[in-house]
Symmetry: C2
Subunit: 321 residues, 2 copies
């Protein structure tokens, strides 16, 4: 079976990755954003990696996809009782990976190896890989200065207007060998960019030195799926950020973020009217049901995305002949 690479972050990215995983199993490599990683109480939180692991392992909460199902909050309650910080701490089960990750990193283990170990123990046959073993932190630029995305989210409640982003460390971060191997796979059929916030979930990965060049030159279709449907973000703060950055709040703006990088863009059927307008940016476009409410929705969308990539590849090959 030919292989697939998906670049993903957040719950939407994890859901599409899960659809691809159910189609491709061990022929799937998932590259995950670590720009939102943070340290708290000495623990190493990697929200997008953990969301991905719980989702692919089938243990994510249906209602709160970023944490394991049946989450409890005994540690946090006791931390508060002892006078610890009031900021939202993860639930009990959600602390296990950050605990083990912090210990592994303190022992000089690579985040890649730690993450692959988690995959193995959770029975995930796909490879979930951090975008880099080097530290990259997304900073949100506000009128009061730059703050890490985590602080913007957890301490500022995403309140301050966003004036821009910085990806601290991305220029010097290296792409792990495992990511390079996956992207250079001889049987690679498509690279998929999952439906997630383009600014803090996807772009950190693209900003790593060499990543965009590699994707452009690789010669396999790169397909992005919109996180914006009908002029609103499916979840999270992408819509608010777009407005504050002076962008049009639409799927077209997302496509614009991936200009000269992607070959195809997946709109939601609700936005089918935008097809021509996005196509004029210089990419192929298809409108599909992108909202994934059920496991079946994930698989159907994943298959449609792979079919879209296959069609692009075939047209290209026909052009070459």
């Amino acid at each position: 079976m030919s292989s697939v690479v998906v670049l993903a972050g957040q719950v939407g990215g994890a859901k599409l990755a899960d659809g691809l995983y159910r189609l491709r199993r061990d022929a799937l490599t998932v590259i995950v954003n670590t720009g939102d990683d943070y340290e708290h109480l000495g623990l190493a939180f990697s929200p997008d990696i953990d969301t991905m692991l719980y989702t692919l392992a089938g243990i994510a909460s249906p209602s709160a996809g970023w944490e394991p199902e049946n989450e409890t909050h005994a540690v946090h309650a006791m931390v508060r009782r002892l006078g610890g910080p009031d900021r939202p701490v993860q639930g009990d089960r959600s602390l296990a990976a950050p605990l083990l990750r912090a210990e592994g990193l303190a022992s000089e283990r690579r985040l890649t190896d730690i993450t692959l170990d988690f995959c193995r123990h959770l029975g995930i046959s796909a490879r979930v890989l951090p975008m880099s073993d080097d530290r990259v932190r997304t900073h949100v630029l506000t009128d009061d200065g730059a703050v890490t995305f985590h602080d913007y989210f957890a301490q500022l409640g995403c309140e301050p207007a966003v004036r821009g982003f910085q990806y601290a460390g991305a220029d010097f971060a290296r792409i792990p060998d495992e990511v390079l191997d996956a992207l250079h796979g001889a049987d690679l059929e498509a690279v998929v960019i999952g439906p997630a916030n383009p600014y803090h979930a996807i772009r950190p990965m693209l900003e790593i030195d060499g990543m965009k060049r590699l994707l452009r030159r690789r010669g396999v279709p790169v397909i992005a799926v919109t996180p914006i449907v009908g002029g609103r973000a499916l979840r999270g703060s992408a819509g608010k950020m777009m407005r504050e950055l002076g962008r049009e709040l639409s799927a077209r703006s997302v496509a614009g973020e991936y200009l000269r990088l992607i070959d195809g863009f997946v709109l939601d059927i609700e936005d089918a009217a935008l097809t021509q307008s996005v196509r004029s940016l210089g990419m192929e476009v298809v409108a599909l049901p992108t909202i994934m409410r059920s496991i079946d929705d994930r698989v159907v969308l994943a298959q449609e995305v792979l079919d879209f990539a296959a069609a692009i590849r075939e047209r290209r090959e026909a052009e070459v002949e």
Copy 2:
């Protein structure tokens, strides 16, 4: 109200401290063993401090006094699922203090300040103080070499025969100012050594440079309460250790550990026949019901111990006159 200092570790020590606390409230200072402290998954565990805090705060489990009541184990279950170590990890609530402690120590805060902060937030008006802010680790000497007490307990299940103990760091550890202040208090009426394993719960405190000299010269009655009743340890491995160290398995052996340090020794009524034999070691002796099954038992024993100290003090004063 005159003040009392108790040196304590383990559940027995915490129970007697709780009895004293209910009598003396903010006139009580509790000095706690930290020789059994250990690090695991980057967290800073202080078992005797936390047992004391839960007990004095009234939130200790009735059946497992070293942890908060209604303890759950979600973090450990997930740690195991992710391939983390199999060794017994604390329950969820029990992780909060070690998490905050590790963060505080990493921020160069003193263990004393961290512990007093916990007291304040838990509403404990007594002062719970670590025996030192410097690192002291009790090592158990076995035929296969020395291991930390925590490894002896958690990894070796207290199996190997005990040949001796070492208190690494005790020679260079300093007594915190707060402990010195309590022991020098002008209104100090008694120093009580709680019923706990003499080798790894009490002696680490006595081994700290200057502690024994200070207790001997202070001039207030020092009273120890037996952890051995009827030739067996109330809990834990004190009995096994005594046998392996070639000591007689009796309350008299405990009294012998405190020779030339204590003025009075509290036997259990079950061992009243040993009174004369222990007295011959050169200390006053009283036989009391030392098994604390209820909160009332703790208060009654605490009052009897203070009465015993008062009687010793009065006799001494009478002798001087």
